[in-house]
C-alpha cells in the first residue's frame, strides 16, 4: 500500500480492501519511523489525521466518495491549517496557530483527503536546498548527505520516501519542480492564477503559485482537479471553467512539437543530467513527436531579474512580521522601533534577512528605476520570448536543474552559486507558465535527474498527458530510494 499510486489507493478504498483509518495509520507509522532521520515533517498530529480518516470512511459509507476520499496528503507548512501550528519554516511563526484554513486545504478536505502533517521547507519558501529551515535541514532519501532541493524539500522527500502518497508545495521560482527533480518525484507548477493562494503565507505575490507533488503525472492530475478552481478571496484567482486534468492523459504523441532551447543544453549542465534528458527527448521523438530547435537567448537574464523582483516583493510582504499581531516578539527592547528591529533580527534567518535587505535596497529612493523597473521590463522580454517560442512548439523540454542533488553545506557560503542553480525553473515562473518535473533517469552517483516540460498558459492537460505517456513507457518514477526501503 505504501508504494501504491493514488488511483490504486482509491480503488482499494472503494473495494473496501483497506479503510482510510488503516491507510492513514500505515503512513503515520512510516513517518514515525523515518522522520527522525529525514526531518521531512515539522508537525505531525496523529489524532487529528485519524479523525479526518474516520470522517473520510464515514463519507465513503454514505456513498459520496470522490477519487481522493480517504487518501492521506502531506501539506507544506506554508499552507495555513485551522487550529494547527503553521510555521513556514521560521522561528517567527514557531508557535503560530492559524485561525483559518487555506483554500487548497479546504478543497482537499471537501474532497475527503486526509491531511497527514506539515512538511519542512526553507524559511518563508526562500531557498533551493531546504537548508534554510529553522527546524533543520531535510535529508534526501536517495543519499542522506545530500539536500532534497527546496523550498518544498520536506514535501518532495516525504513523497520520495513513501511517507506520504502525495503532498502540496508552492513554487515561486522553482520550489515545487526543483525539489521534485532532486528527490526523484513529480511536481507541477500550474499556470499563475489557476490555484488560489488564499491562506498561503506570501513570499513574492506576482510569482507565488501552489502545486502538487506526487509520484506520477496521473497522480498530479488527480490532485490538480481538486486544487484548481476560482476563489474570490485571492484577487489573482482566475474565473474560468473547471477542467478534468485526467481526461487527456492518454493523448496522442504523433505530431506533438517539442521545443528544445539551446540555452537549456549548453555549458554548466552535468553530463549525467544531459545524458538522461537527451535520452528522454529521443523517446519523445521515437513516438512521433517533432523536434523544434529554439533559442531563448535571454534565459541567463532570468536569474538576475528574479533576484530583484522576488526580494522586492518579499520585503513588502514580510513587513507584516513586526511582533505586534502574530508570531514572535523580542523579549527585550527599548521602544516600538527597537521592538520591530529586534523581533525581526531574532526571528528571521540569515537568507530571509538577506532577501529583505536586497528587496529594500532595490525599492529604495534612487534605485527603483535602475533595478526594480528594469527587472520588470526584462521580465516582459522573457515572457515575450516564450510567446514566440510557443508559436513553433507545443511543449518545451529540458532539464529541471543543471545538476542533481548536491551535498548539504556545499553551496551554503555562496548565495549566487545557489541562485544560479534555479536558472531553468525561474523563466516559466516569471512568465506565469505551467511547468512540471518528472524523473527521467539517474546520474553516475545514483541520484535522480528531473525532466522539465513547460507549456503555454493553461496547457496543464498537455503537459500531464505527455508526462503520463512517458511514464507508461519508463520505470524511473517507480524506483524506491535505497536508503528508505519499504
Amino acid at each position: 500500500m505504501l508504494d501504491a499510486t493514488l488511483a490504486e489507493l482509491s480503488a482499494a478504498l472503494a473495494a473496501k480492501r483497506v479503510s482510510s483509518v488503516e491507510l492513514t495509520g500505515a503512513f503515520l507509522d512510516r513517518v514515525r519511523k523515518l522522520n527522525p532521520d529525514l526531518n521531512a515533517f515539522i508537525t505531525v498530529d496523529r489524532e487529528r489525521s485519524l479523525a479526518q480518516a474516520r470522517a473520510a470512511d464515514a463519507k465513503r459509507a454514505h456513498g459520496d466518495a470522490g477519487p481522493l476520499t480517504g487518501i492521506p496528503v502531506a501539506l507544506k507548512d506554508i499552507y495555513c491549517t485551522k487550529g494547527q501550528r503553521t510555521t513556514c519554516g521560521s522561528r517567527m511563526l514557531e508557535h503560530f496557530i492559524s485561525p483559518y484554513d487555506a483554500h487548497v486545504v479546504e478543497q482537499l478536505e471537501r474532497a475527503g483527503a486526509v491531511a497527514l502533517g506539515k512538511c519542512n521547507m526553507d524559511e518563508f519558501a526562500m531557498g533551493s536546498s531546504n537548508e534554510n529551515s529553522y527546524f533543520g535541514p531535510v535529508r534526501n532519501p536517495w543519499d542522506r548527505r545530500r539536500v532534497p532541493g527546496g523550498s518544498s524539500g520536506g514535501s518532495a522527500a516525504a513523497v520520495a520516501a513513501r511517507m506520504a502518497p502525495a503532498a502540496t508545495g508552492t513554487d515561486t521560482g522553482g520550489s515545487v519542480r526543483q525539489p521534485a527533480a532532486f528527490s526523484g518525484v513529480c511536481g507541477l507548477r500550474p499556470t499563475y492564477g489557476l490555484v488560489s493562494r488564499y491562506g498561503l503565507i506570501a513570499f513574492a505575490s506576482s510569482l507565488d503559485q501552489a502545486g502538487p507533488i506526487a509520484r506520477s503525472a496521473a497522480d498530479l492530475a488527480l490532485l490538480l482537479n481538486v486544487m484548481a478552481g476560482f476563489d474570490a478571496r485571492d484577487s489573482t484567482s482566475l474565473d474560468r471553467p473547471k477542467e478534468d486534468y485526467t481526461e487527456n492523459l492518454e493523448m496522442r504523441m504523433g505530431g506533438l512539437r517539442i521545443g528544445l532551447p539551446a540555452e537549456y543544453f549548453g555549458e554548466g549542465i552535468e553530463p549525467g543530467v544531459r545524458m538522461a534528458v537527451e535520452a528522454a527527448v529521443a523517446w519523445f521523438e521515437a513516438q512521433g513527436a517533432r523536434r523544434v530547435e529554439l533559442e531563448l537567448s535571454r534565459t541567463k537574464l532570468a536569474v538576475p531579474a528574479y533576484y530583484v523582483i522576488a526580494p522586492a516583493e518579499a520585503s513588502s510582504n514580510l513587513a507584516r512580521f513586526d511582533g505586534v499581531r502574530y508570531g514572535y516578539r523580542a523579549k527585550e527592547y527599548s521602544d516600538l522601533v527597537d521592538m520591530y528591529c529586534r523581533t525581526r533580527a531574532e526571528a528571521f534567518g540569515a537568507e530571509v534577512k538577506q532577501r529583505i535587505l536586497v528587496g529594500t535596497y532595490v525599492l529604495s529612493h534612487g534605485y527603483y528605476d535602475a533595478y526594480y523597473l528594469q527587472a520588470q521590463k526584462v521580465r516582459r522580454l522573457i515572457a515575450q520570448d516564450f510567446s514566440l517560442a510557443f508559436e513553433k512548439c507545443d511543449v518545451i523540454l529540458g532539464p529541471t536543474a543543471p545538476t542533481t542533488a548536491f551535498e548539504i553545506g556545499a553551496k551554503a557560503g555562496d548565495p549566487v552559486q545557489m541562485y544560479l542553480g534555479d536558472i531553468f525553473t525561474i523563466p516559466a515562473a516569471l512568465a506565469g507558465l505551467p511547468a512540471l518535473s518528472i524523473p527521467c533517469g539517474f546520474d553516475e552517483k545514483g541520484l535522480p535527474v528531473g525532466l522539465q516540460l513547460m507549456g503555454e498558459h493553461f496547457s496543464e492537460a498537455t503537459l500531464l498527458g505527455a508526462a503520463h505517456r512517458y511514464q507508461q513507457a519508463t520505470e524511473w518514477h517507480k524506483r524506491i530510494p535505497k536508503e528508505t526501503p519499504l
Binding site: 521602544d335 516600538l336 526584462v378 549566487v416 516569471l430 498558459h457
Partner: protein, 95 residues
C-alpha cells in the same frame, strides 16, 4: 557593485532589522555579491518595453461595495503576542 557601510546602515534601518556592528561586514559582502549578479540587468536595452508587474495581464476584480466580512477580531487576536481590551499592545510611543 559594492555597498558602503553607510548604505548598509540605511538599508537595515528601512527594513527594520537590527544588525550587530560585528555583522555589518558579512552583510555588506553578501549583499554586494547579490547586487553584482543583478547588475547584469543594467546592460539590457529595454527602451519602449512595458514593465511586467504581474504574471498574467488581468485587471483588478471588483466586488460589490457592501459588508461581506464577519467580525473575527477575537479569533485573530487570540494569536497576538499582547492584547488588552481588544487592542494590540505595543511599547509606549509618546511620553
Amino acid at each position: 557593485m559594492s555597498l558602503s557601510h553607510d548604505q548598509i546602515r540605511r538599508i537595515v534601518k528601512l527594513a527594520r532589522i537590527a544588525i550587530r556592528p560585528e555583522e555589518s561586514e558579512a552583510v555588506r559582502a553578501r549583499l554586494s555579491c547579490v547586487l553584482a549578479l543583478v547588475d547584469e540587468l543594467r546592460a539590457v536595452d529595454t527602451t519602449g518595453v512595458e514593465p511586467m508587474s504581474h504574471a498574467v495581464d488581468v485587471g483588478q476584480r471588483l466586488r460589490r461595495d457592501e459588508v461581506s466580512e464577519q467580525d473575527n477580531h477575537a479569533v485573530y487576536q487570540s494569536v497576538a503576542p499582547a492584547v488588552q481590551e481588544n487592542l494590540y499592545l505595543v511599547p509606549k510611543v509618546i511620553e
